[in-house]
């Protein structure tokens, strides 16, 4: 299946939950904020959230800003 992470299409070979996705794709572990199909998913729900084909996932974090 394919999902879009941060604007780029990613192919997933197996069904994964959000927790796995974050550890696979993000090099940082702390302060990752996720938004799946426009809805914010809090970290405590990541392991129960299964990704589906066509999902749009945004992973954001803090950076310097004014």
């Amino acid at each position: 299946m394919n999902i879009i992470i941060n604007g780029k299409s990613q192919a997933l070979t197996t069904a994964q939950n959000l927790s796995d996705i974050v550890s696979t794709f993000c090099k940082q572990s702390r302060h990752v904020i996720s938004e799946l199909n426009g809805a914010i998913i809090p970290p405590e729900q990541w392991s129960q959230t299964l990704l589906q084909d066509g999902d749009v996932l945004e992973l954001v974090t803090f950076v310097g800003g004014g």
Binding site: I5, N6, G7, K8, F25, C26, K27, Q28, R30, H31, V32, I33, S34, E35, I40, P42, P43, E58, L59, V60, T61, F62, V63, G64, G65, G66
Partner: protein, 261 residues
Amino acid sequence: MTDTPLVIAGKSFTSRFFLGTGKFKNKKDLSDSIAAGGSQIVTVALRRIDLDHHEENILEHIPPHVTLLTNTSARTAQEAVRIARLARASGCGDWVKIEVINDSKYLLPDNQETIKATEILAAEGFVVLPYISPDLYAARALVKAGAATVMPLGSFIGSNQGIKTKEFIQVLINEIELPIVVDAGIGAPSDAAQAMEMGADAVLVNTAVATAQNPVVLARAFALAVEAGRLAYLSGLPLERFIANASSPLTGFLYDDIPTN
């Protein structure tokens, strides 16, 4: 004479110098500048995680006691609301700076959209610090909308031009009960001192410090300037004396022998 603390949304601060964390050359300059300036509130932004490169997490360089103020940096109220909610989902607090800009030439904020975003987010319990062009009606609407402060711009973002909107900021200081934080365009410590002498409650500086040759020293200079300006304001600067010119006296009659009653 000592100052009373700056209170925003029930939280007390002893520093009236807020620092923005954008545009720093490196993270060490940032953390050293925060320390040198003694800032207790810093702004941060949200961005998509770069999945290809490992970037140091900026929060690792901000001391835990410092309050994070996430800049929504959006083009519409709806976007600002979305970003605020994302920031809150981090678990790092719910203080947000509403910055809604739909203008790439001057980077002027859209006051109307800012008011809309403030209404929505304040109702959701965020601590909202809206950034606006200094306009009394907008400021009043923000008070009504539940803003925690009002942040009028001193001059264009990144311009370092100083306080170009002095008279208009003064109106807000005079008429609005919320803390007034002068934000944007502060280029030198003297600008910050000027804002504080006028009666502003705090200033937010980013570009001037981040792009200075020696940000750490400049951060300290700003902290001193903010303190000096604040003390000057508290001391009650002497009034201009009204000088009379002799040619057409208006009150000579008071000293005539003929009584008026």
